[in-house]
Symmetry: C2
Subunit: 228 residues, 2 copies
DNA sequence: AAGGCTTATAGTCAATTTGACCATCAAGTT
DNA sequence: AACTTGATGGTCAAATTGACTATAAGCCTT
């Protein structure tokens, strides 16, 4: 096969970086400091370098922006409508990341003059097809959170069952029964109890758990699938 | 954001086209007629045109190859390792398609000198990262078939419950209990009985059903999710 | 035409899981 | 010491699942 060189002008990456605070999902946006989209809040992103794999580029961009190394991250897909970007043919690859609150501090990166978290319900109008990318990511999150144990990537390493429940309630937009939720989760054996308890609460302190990846991997080999 | 133009050389599409016959999954490959990969069987693919969205390109390529318009199709993801393609930096977008047996006839397309179906178990070594793309697609299929009603896209429009069961057994690599499988599927109300029966079988003819997309869409709105 | 094959389809039943609850417990607060 | 708040533990009927058994419809042979 012969390739018609340079049939597109450029290939970018745009990141959906989700966080969770006060019972609500947040998304990290940056304010563009130059170009046509100056002043607008948009998804953080950047360009793929020539000698860098697509996934390396995503890791690099995510790191530059948040300063964090071990973020949960996956590729969301390609957004390639002809007129998604003005003037030139730019195709972008959407990435999807979940960050823990302890990593909520962030760098202001590259060409962004500022960066901050928005509640999902208060995301402003964004340029290009970023709103479409976000919708696609939220849909993906809703689906995935029910079929794979990824919810705790939005929580501190040690978390209470109730915090986890709040994540599910926020993502799925439903209320869940507390005893039933805990019963279901505990039976899966994916939560390893740490000996610690919650602190600084004005009521009985809840036990803290952490996700037991080792056990999950073992169970998965035996055919177990997470379902909620 | 300023884009460093043409940081990659080209962007291609590669298609995973799955079929189902004789209780086994098939995949459609083409034999390359020119270039470095001459003579090798590989995934069918092509280039994205300047004035064409990525998804339009996928539809076009799939149509050129199979001659079929309404194929079940979705984007699988981007494969962008630096050295996945010799000499140049070519990034590819994997697409994932399921075709019905009545559409098994195909055109030999563009630069492919030949095209044919391979059983999944007999796929030859493929050039570039095509084996990786295939593995990724099979994994995706295994997951998706359990969480969304897409299995019948590998069957004729009207099919028997047992045919459907065979699809699941082939994809998942397990044996399923016949009465239990039928009970579960029937309870979902996603299969509309056609008045017809199987023909030319040397035993009691089974009823034919078709997937009832309308009902599925309604149920989905109400929060139903397909699970098997 | 009768009996035998083969696969479809129906039904049974115990074990497990779910959904909707109520009850008790362990802190901190007044 | 009583009260408040949320954690944790149980109960129970209903629904679902998994492992089977039983019966029904056809063709195929003799």
């Amino acid at each position: 096969m012969n390739s018609p060189d340079n049939i597109i002008d450029a290939l970018s990456i745009d990141c959906l970086i989700f966080g969770f605070k006060k019972g609500e999902l947040d998304i990290l946006l940056v304010q563009h400091g130059e170009g046509i989209s100056k002043g607008k809040w948009a998804l953080p992103g950047g360009w793929i370098r020539y000698n860098e794999s697509v996934s390396d580029a995503a890791v690099r961009l995510l790191h530059d922006l948040t300063g964090v190394e071990n973020i949960y991250m996956e590729q969301l897909g390609v957004f390639g409508d002809v007129d998604r970007y003005p003037q030139k043919r730019v195709i972008t690859i959407g990435y999807f990341a979940l960050v823990k609150p302890e990593n909520y501090k962030l760098h202001a990166g590259f060409t962004a003059s500022d960066a901050r978290w928005f509640k999902l319900s208060e995301v402003p109008k964004m340029p290009y097809d970023h709103t479409q990318i976000l919708d696609s990511g939220v849909k993906h999150l809703k689906h995935k959170v029910r079929h794979e144990p990824i919810g705790f990537n939005l929580l501190p390493r040690k978390f209470t069952l109730h915090q986890l429940q709040e994540v599910y309630e926020a993502v799925l937009g439903t209320k869940l029964d507390k005893p039933n939720f805990r019963r279901k989760l505990m039976k899966m054996n994916l939560l390893a109890p740490s000996k610690e308890k919650q602190k600084d609460v004005s009521h009985r302190a809840a036990s803290l758990y952490k996700f037991d990846k080792r056990t999950y991997d073992k169970l998965k080999e035996k055919g177990f699938t997470f379902e909620l």
